[in-house]
Structures are given as structure tokens and as C-alpha cells.
Amino acid sequence: MRHLLILGVLFFCIIAGNAEQTIADDSEWDLSGNVSIKARGFSQDALWPEQNTSDAEVSVSGEWEARWRSEEGDQRASFIPFVRWDENDDERSHIDLREAYWAYEGDGVELLVGVNKVFWGVTESVHLVDIINQTDLVEDIDQEDKLGQPMVNLAVQKDWGLINLYVLPYFRERTFPGLDGRFREPLRVDWDDAEYESGAKDKHVDLALRYSHYFGDVDVGLYYFRGTSREPRLQLSADGREFKPFYDQIDQVGLDLQYTRDAWLWKLEAIVRDGSDESFAASVAGFEYTFYQVYESDADIGILMEYQYDERSSKKPLTIADNDVFMGARWSLNDIQDTAVLAGVVVDKKTSETFFNLEAERRFGDNTFLELRVRAITNAESDEPLYSFSRDDYIQLQISRYF
């Protein structure tokens, strides 16, 4: 049944994409979206029993975007379903509403009601302060894919900055791959039967208040969040056969800063989180420096370096960004096809656990986009956080068709 629904939505994305021209012409609706096919090849056999033994996997995804704006321009709405079908992992085949909201804008004020995505932060190697949306972990281990978050958001723009108030009435559980999937823990994570510190469980109303502005060359964001932690602790179930996620109640203050001067971007993200029995601080800081038009070409080369520090104890949700150095380089050709390559490595200073990542992208024609990705993990010993994924090195090719 679920597969039928997924294939149905996927099919709808493709059909709706082709029908776009006829609908979009004489209305206030803007329809667009994309369909992608993604193939991954793994260099090693899977680590855990029951993982699919195939060294290749194919998945198909679709995202359909319908946006509306009123004639007066003061109201807008958005509806964006997302769907992925994966040939191996049932948990990875899933549907989500990335956006579904209505918003009204007055003079310097906007009220938004519904499901939306919100991003906060400045650094590249880890998104420490970003907290509103839950991670859609089955999509990618880089945690940049997010689930839609139901919210009421009031934004007030003043000369002295932007204030955003978020009331988040419903909690989204982090997704985890199934037994067949790669990038999984030794046991299955029963992700949709989570336990909570709050008696209200996933109905706990979370709150966030954020201020953001810029002062000359400095951009700043500061927020306070109170509610359910987006990061679960994985606890062994009573029968010891699977993990159950446990979500703490937390108070968190987060700061992001960027100083932009000449070709330098200096970045800092920091949080202080107060949980049930412990509080801790974490931060990531670094820079990006760009050499523009290298060797008199149109291409730019950016050098990135960041240091990640996290003082949380082992009682807290596990993090890999505890004492790590990230180094990377970004090569942008600035050509018509927007060709770009980003390569980076994150090394744990204590354990030398290493995560290597390469992303290359290029447009073909007007509507086709190709992405190549290579990821590898080395020096992960059995007691370290990335060990579970240590045999999941892969190369991935994704072709996306936009409409």
C-alpha cells in the first residue's frame, strides 16, 4: 500500500511537471519541481547482517512545488510534497510534506501558518545552530535534508533587525534507515515509536525566538529555543533487539556570527544546551578565503577551514563533531553550466577518524542537473561513532530533471 502511494505521488510529480506550462500561464500559481534518479555504488560489503548485499542501489525521488501569491501580493502559500522510492530500503522509501503554508504580510510583519523549512547558520562543515527542522536522515548522512515542520511563525522587521517568533506545536521524529539500508546502526532504530522526556510526547509545544541583523561587515543571529531536542539518544529496547530514540526536553541558546571582509569570510556558530541533567557548550569556527579569477580564468578557488568542538558527555546524543578539523576547497568555474566542485575532509584530532567528501555538479542544457558525490570513512575503530558506516564508502551519481 505504501509503495503504491509512493509510486502514485512520484508519477504525479512527473505528470504535473509536464502539465506545468498550460496551468501556470494565466494564474497566480507558480508550479515547478524536479524528478531525480540516484545511483550509489558501494566499494565494500555491508558491515551488519541483514543489510542488503548488493553493492549498488538505485532510488528515484520527486519534489513538486506549487506556490501562490495573491494579486495584491500580501498573501502567499506554498505546497511542496517530496517523495523517494528506494529499491532496497523500505524505510528510505518515504513521503514528506516539505512545505504547506499560508502567510500574510503586512507592513514589516509576516504571519506564517503551516509546514515550513527554516535554516539558521553560517558554517559549512556542521550546522550546529540550525534547530527548527528535524533531519531527514534516510536522505543523506550530511543532515542537510530536513523534514517539514508545522509552525506558527511571526516575523517582525525593524530598522534594528529582524525578530522571529516560532511556535512549534508538533514534533517530527528523525528518520532512520531500515535493516536493509546502508548507513545504519548495528540494530534497527524503531524511529517512529520514540520515547520522550515530556509527557506531552510529540505534542509538546516548542518555542523559539530569534534576532538577526547585520552591523557593517558583521552578520549576527541569536536565538533561544525551548522544547524537544531534535537529536535523539538511542536506547536499547527492553528485549535488546532494537534501538528506541529518546528525545530530551532542552533549553538552548545559539549564536551565529560572520565577519565578511575583502575575500575573507570568518564564521562562528556556538550553542549552550541545558538538558535534563547536564548542560554543555559546542561551537564551530573557521574561515573561507576565495582566490577570484585564478590564473586569469573565470574560475574561483575557495579554501575552507573550520574547527568543531563539543563538550557534551557520553550521556548525551552522540556527535561526531566533538574535536575535529575540517579542511576543504571549493572550485567554481563560473561558466554557463555552473560547474562546481567541493572537496573536504573532517579529521578527529584525537582518534584520527576521517570523513572524506567530494561533490561535483554541472548543468546540462537548461533543465538537467548532474551531481557526482564520493564519500569515504577511514580510521573508524569499533568504539567510535562512524564505525557503523565504515564500510559504506560510496560513489553516487544523480541526474535531476527540473520543470
Binding site: K117, V122, L265, T290, Q293, D366, S400
Partner: protein, 267 residues
């Protein structure tokens, strides 16, 4: 007071006589500035504007690809402060919703923010990259942001026919840092005071690009806008056309529409 004026006038006419050129004639620098200022000021008071634009990129073999975007501009009435502008892309589809917000400065680097819709991320970007290509085109970033009068110093060269009109030919030199140009030569017509053509000279001093302004239309009986800009790189033979749709003026934009917090709310 009156005596002083008479004395001044006498001295000036004596000087004029000695120079055997009229005294009210300025130096070439002053005259060049005056031509540019007259052109710039002919556009003063437009308030805000909005236009759709199609960019057609052509490589040396003549292969084309295009991008479409919406341009909004907020005029700053103070000439010592640059205008604010916002570019919102609608094609290619994979970058739909990408937006670039610029607060232009005169000699300091501009403030610029980029909005990346896939991540919903607002990113402050370095504006040092003046001479780099704007979205893969033959237009550099500075070709879009450097229209402010005081970003250049000027030198008047000559007057010559340009098409059906007559043009003042003015050389201009970037005063801001990190320009990719040593100089530019602009042709400004003497009827409507609009720029008809610009030649760009690279850091070595050789001719790099030629920009032609076509299809000028007048709005509100006052404001001229070219609807077709053709930039040709004479060194690589690549070219980029900018084709503008109808401009809308005074659409009620304010400073609040040109803040980074609005970038995620544009669509």
C-alpha cells in the same frame, strides 16, 4: 560685493584672453564629470523600479542558453549612498528562487547577500569579486553595480556622431578597488543624455568588451530605459544579451523590501 564680482569678471576675461580659449570651458576632467552627471541626474527621482529580464548567453560557436530573472531597484536619493537592488532568478529551473541582494556603496565594497532556496540559506558573500562573471555571463558583477556616478573619475574626449544622434565621448576610470578595468570609454548622446555604448579595457589596457544599449524607451515622460543591452567580449567572441520587459516604476517598494530577512519570503 558688486565690485568684487566685476573685478572677478575682469580677471576672468583677461585670463580667457591670455589662454585664447573661453574661461567657462572646464578642464576635460570637469567636462567629463559634467556629462556623466547630467546623464546620471536625468534619471534622478525614479524612486523604485521593477522589470523582468532575460539573459541570453552565447559562446564563441554561437550556442545559446538563457536565464530569466526579476530586477528590482530602490533609488537612494543621497548621491553619496548607492542604490539597493534585488535579483530574483526564475530560470534555469534548478536555481529558481535564488536571489541576490545588494546594497551598493560608492567606494567601499558593496554589501551582498545570496539566498539559496534548496537549503533556505541566506549567505553574506564577499563583494571583492568585482571583475568576476555574473552568473556565467559576459557581464561582470561591477557592470551591474557600478552605475553610481561617483564610482568613477572622468575625462572628456570629444564629440562625435553616434547613429542618428551626436554623442559626447567620455573616458572613465574606476575609483573603487578590485576593478577588472583600467578604463572605460562611454558614448553619451547629447539629446537625451543616455549612454549608447561603453568600451571596457582590461588590466593590460587592451579592449576587452563592448556594450551597446538599444531600444531606449521613455517612462513617465522622463525616465529613459534601454531594453536591450548587448555585451560582446572581443577577446573571446562570447556575448551576452540582456532583454528587459516593461519597467514598472513606483511600485511602492521601501527599505524593508531590501533586507536580508526578506530573501526567504520572496516567493
Amino acid at each position: 560685493m558688486k565690485h568684487l564680482k566685476i573685478l572677478g569678471a575682469t580677471l576672468l576675461s583677461m585670463a580667457a584672453f591670455l589662454n585664447s580659449s573661453p574661461v567657462w570651458s572646464e578642464t576635460p576632467e570637469e567636462k567629463g564629470f559634467a556629462v556623466a552627471a547630467r546623464s546620471d541626474r536625468s534619471d534622478r527621482g525614479f524612486g523604485d523600479s521593477k522589470a523582468e529580464m532575460t539573459m541570453v548567453l552565447r559562446n564563441a560557436a554561437g550556442q545559446e542558453s538563457s536565464r530569466t530573472m526579476q530586477f528590482t531597484t530602490l533609488e537612494m536619493s543621497d548621491e553619496s549612498v548607492g542604490d539597493k537592488s534585488l535579483v530574483l532568478f526564475s530560470t534555469p529551473r534548478d536555481i529558481e528562487g535564488t536571489a541576490l541582494l545588494s546594497h551598493a556603496k560608492i567606494l567601499d565594497p558593496d554589501d551582498q547577500w545570496l539566498y539559496l532556496p534548496a537549503l533556505k540559506r541566506v549567505k553574506r558573500i564577499s563583494s571583492r569579486n568585482k571583475s568576476g562573471p555574473f552568473v556565467g555571463s559576459e557581464f561582470a558583477f561591477e557592470d551591474f553595480t557600478a552605475s553610481e556616478l561617483n564610482k568613477f573619475s572622468y575625462k572628456y574626449l570629444r564629440e562625435e556622431p553616434c547613429g542618428d544622434l551626436s554623442c559626447d565621448v567620455v573616458e572613465r576610470f574606476p575609483r573603487y578597488e578590485n576593478s577588472g578595468y583600467t578604463r572605460q570609454i562611454s558614448w553619451v548622446d547629447t539629446t537625451d543624455y543616455q549612454i549608447r555604448k561603453i568600451e571596457f579595457y582590461d588590466r593590460r589596457g587592451s579592449l576587452l568588451k563592448e556594450l551597446i544599449f538599444e531600444d531606449y524607451r521613455k517612462y513617465a515622460d522622463k525616465y529613459w530605459r534601454a531594453h536591450r543591452l548587448v555585451m560582446k567580449n572581443v577577446q573571446t567572441n562570447k556575448s551576452t544579451d540582456l532583454v528587459y520587459g516593461e519597467y514598472k516604476f513606483n511600485v511602492g517598494l521601501t527599505d524593508k523590501d531590501f533586507v536580508k530577512g526578506r530573501l526567504s519570503r520572496l516567493r
